[in-house]
Symmetry: C2
Subunit: 405 residues, 2 copies
């Protein structure tokens, strides 16, 4: 059950973007699993992809195409990752693009393909290409919600968000959709996220906005520590609002950046809130570290510990596991007698020892809700980091043991 | 259920070592949980401890004592780790040693304390010291099996092994006991292991024998990636056999080393075979790496992947998860088109693509047994590594969610 996560009621169209969905029957019955997204001239696109070297065929193809030319179409399927299939996988991804280029009258490399789903099963190309004519005819500005639903795999709630900001008197819209929900430890971005804005921005500006937004959002979440083969996060600027990033006032630029970052963070957190088998949404917050890298390393060590995660599942304030996970990182400098830990607002450890007045009962009460914060203060410096993660439940094991059956 | 692991029927006494056990009621009812081990002059001892900076009070005290003088007694309790208690924990460990020194007529620093169990609860010192007189009177050479049973926590099978080797015509005995079964990712050794031999060896020789044996055994196992706060591995040489290491022939030294290494490896594997919630005993074997460090990093990345572990639990030949886990390590050099994977003897991937003739049915058959080997050949060099681990089952979550309740 997703934690405090509702599907969006409506997503605001972004001028310059049209979408269509179809049910190709790749894996799921009675639902859409295919999305075509059209980006009209002069839209500019930035994208970040998985750092996993075992990256999927569509990631290889999308990287090549993006390096050559600005994309005009995004083609997204759910249910099959087209990963781990070598030359065959590449040929299948290219064939999907070539056929779409013919159907839409564009160049093959103006199409970016994205796939998410089971690894190692061949992509049923004909099931996809059969829908091209109908998809091209059905393109419309108001299909964001349908697209958010069509890209789901083990997600239980569809994820999308819109924001509008006033920038120097002009209204700029941004809308994004994303999907999880396992193999989530983005070393760049989660499985798939697509964000569009009607701002105008140069490719370099867009690249920088995208990296900055990803850094504090998708780079700060983990479900199971497994970086996916298909991660991709795409940011499109359609230039239709009349607002141009480079012409904005410093304040308006900051406002746009803040709105974009907050939209990315909400999407990233939505993926965690709907993480496989989740019963607790956990924020691991490290403060007083010597560097952000140290803070992040310690936070991830806690967030990935199966013992910390099962304690969270059991609502057990087993702080020994939290501190032990923090202290096993390669960083040599942790000083136990400077360490403090809060679970939500309850002080648990102070200067390396049980906090005065701390009782097990207080700890148990702090663990009851479905949102937890572990705040670890190292007493070593001024850097900090926050990482969002899930607990580890019976349901996680069940979902992942039965994924392919 | 432990995988192909039976308790030892008998452990061979090691001349110069006497043991006694008692039921102190620290956590468990109706079983022994306290061990006293006497090491007679001129026994020499080497010990390796956890690299976790949040190490338990007994580890701090044992390190100090061992640095000062050769130990005469080991005091081991199960059920309470005496970890995470700051100055109080240190005082409690010291008090246990001081009282035992009085009872046994030795110096306080001739005692090494060891604790294993729950973190963060105060050690009930009086419950322990109350048994000293009786323990000292009950010391005997034949209590190794009782000691192996007394140090168990979540272990379901007690772990011990004896070996005898002929070295230049003299019989040398070695007997070891160990316990697991969770928070196992030794960055030195697992929770607790105690090995004794009647060989005579200098402290430096012993240290080297111990490090070498640990390196290819306890350093090569993982259950959940969580390095414990209380890990300790102790090797005692009692010098009672008449065989002296430095006087042995090169062949006899090699024979001793091989027997010791094999004893350590069996104990380490026994801990994995009895890992919490285990249903599959998994060997991750990396070959053709550029360095052992690279091979180990990749092996651990696979061994720690919750997705790989849940696939093993489900007997699902989900090779995509194995390759994806291998490919997410920081090592930049993995080349997918050189990669081959076998599950047991079944070729699954060849040169980065599904092996000719591989069928899902063949993969499923290979996954049926309760012992699995994933053999990944990188095609990059000649280094290799083997890591032993468990699957991730419903039972693991249950055990660790309910550990303190």
């Amino acid at each position: 059950m997703a934690i405090s996560l509702n599907p969006p009621e409506r997503l605001i169209p972004v001028s310059g973007i049209r979408l269509a969905t179809a049910a190709a029957g790749l894996r799921y019955k009675d639902r859409d699993d295919l999305v075509l997204m059209e980006l009209s001239e002069p839209a500019r696109t930035a994208a970040l992809f998985t750092t996993n070297r075992f990256c999927a065929a569509p990631v290889v193809v999308a990287r090549q195409h993006l390096a050559a030319v600005q994309p005009r179409y995004l083609l997204i399927n759910a249910g099959n990752a087209n990963a781990g299939l070598g030359a065959q996988g590449l040929a299948d991804a290219q064939q999907c693009c070539a056929a779409l280029a013919r159907a839409c009258g564009c160049q093959e490399n103006e199409i970016l393909p994205f796939s998410t789903g089971v690894i190692g099963e061949r992509l049923p190309v004909e099931k996809i290409t059969a829908h091209y004519t109908r998809l091209a005819q059905a393109l419309g500005e108001d299909a964001w919600l349908a697209a958010a639903q069509a890209i789901m795999t083990t997600d239980t709630v569809c994820k999308g968000l819109s924001r509008q900001v006033e920038l120097d008197g002009q209204t700029v819209t941004m809308t994004g959709i994303a999907k999880g929900a396992g193999m989530i430890r983005p070393d760049m971005a989660t499985m798939l996220a697509f964000v569009a804005t009607d701002l105008e921005a140069d490719p370099e500006e867009l690249e920088q906005l995208s990296r900055q937004a990803v850094r504090q959002s998708f780079h700060c979440i983990t479900v199971d520590g497994d970086t996916s083969t298909n991660d991709a996060c795409v940011l499109v600027a359609t230039a239709r609002s009349g607002a141009r990033f480079s012409a904005l006032s410093p304040q308006a630029r900051a406002d746009f950046s803040e709105a974009l970052n907050s939209l990315y963070l909400s999407l990233a957190q939505a993926i965690v809130r709907d993480g496989e088998g989740i019963t607790k949404f956990v924020c691991v917050r490290i403060e007083q570290a010597r560097s952000e890298a140290e803070a992040r390393e310690i936070a991830f060590s806690i967030a990935h510990s199966p013992l910390v995660k099962t304690s969270a599942f059991a609502s057990d304030p087993n702080w020994g596991r939290i501190v032990a996970a923090a202290a096993r990182t390669p960083h040599g400098g942790l000083e136990m007698d400077r360490l403090s830990l809060h679970i939500n607002t309850v002080p648990v450890i102070e200067n390396g020892q049980p906090a005065p007045g701390y009782t097990e009962a207080a700890g148990v009460r702090a663990m009851q809700g479905d949102e937890l914060e572990y705040r670890l203060q190292l007493g070593l410096g001024t850097a900090s980091a926050r990482i969002w993660t899930t607990d580890l439940s019976h349901e996680y094991v069940k979902i992942n043991a039965e994924y392919r059956t």
